[in-house]
Amino acid sequence: MKNNLEQIRKTRNISQIELADTLEVSRQTISSLENGRYNPSILLAFKIAKYFDLTIEDVFIYEEDQYE
């Protein structure tokens, strides 16, 4: 699953560590999310979207063919 997390984070001038501390996850988790190596739980996806005052769809991009 692709996402706009890095772009959104950089637009808001927030470091990975700051975001990680606020969301109470490790910095590696933020890094992995941004690289698309890790898909978050629905709970973390909501927390991220809520933190940026966006919807989940604004942050994460669902791709129809990703399970094929």
Binding site: E24, S26, S32, Y38, P40, S41, L44
Partner: protein, 141 residues
């Protein structure tokens, strides 16, 4: 020190002392108990170490609140948890294959039937635990 760690440390020390007593005072003359003192010393040391480790970890966390928050986050982090669960699952698959190979090796080496049967029982218990946990989790999730 919480109660659980205190119990661990106490049990560890008791087992270690008993093991040392049997080894040095009673001697290891009885054939059936030849390895008992060493087993007691080994398990005692392990249990003591586990309890003491927890006590020292708790102390270190209390003394450093900044790092303690980071450690707590690292422990609860969902990606770390997912990685640990996946590693455990892979380790289980590997262990099952390794276990079967060891049983086969023991059988080919014509080891004592009792030992082979104990290993087979342990292997079956490991394999059977999977559908049991699967069924339990299937009801819970």
């Amino acid at each position: 020190m919480n109660k659980k760690n205190a119990i661990k440390i106490t049990i560890g020390v008791i087992m270690f002392v008993i093991g040392l007593y049997v080894l040095l005072v009673e001697g290891i003359s009885r054939d059936n108990l030849i390895s008992l003192p060493f087993v007691l010393i080994g398990i005692g040391s392990g249990v003591f170490g586990a309890g003491m480790g927890e006590v020292l970890k708790t102390k270190a966390i209390k003394e450093d609140p900044v790092n303690s928050k980071r450690i707590e986050i690292e422990q609860k982090d969902e990606r770390n948890t997912a990685i640990a669960n996946k590693a455990r699952a892979k380790s289980y698959s590997f262990t099952i294959i390794l276990f079967a190979a060891v049983i086969l090796l023991f059988t080919l080496l014509q080891a004592d039937t009792k030992i082979v049967l104990v290993l087979v029982a342990a292997y079956i218990a490991s394999v059977v635990s999977f559908p049991i946990y699967y069924s339990k989790l299937n009801k819970e999730m």
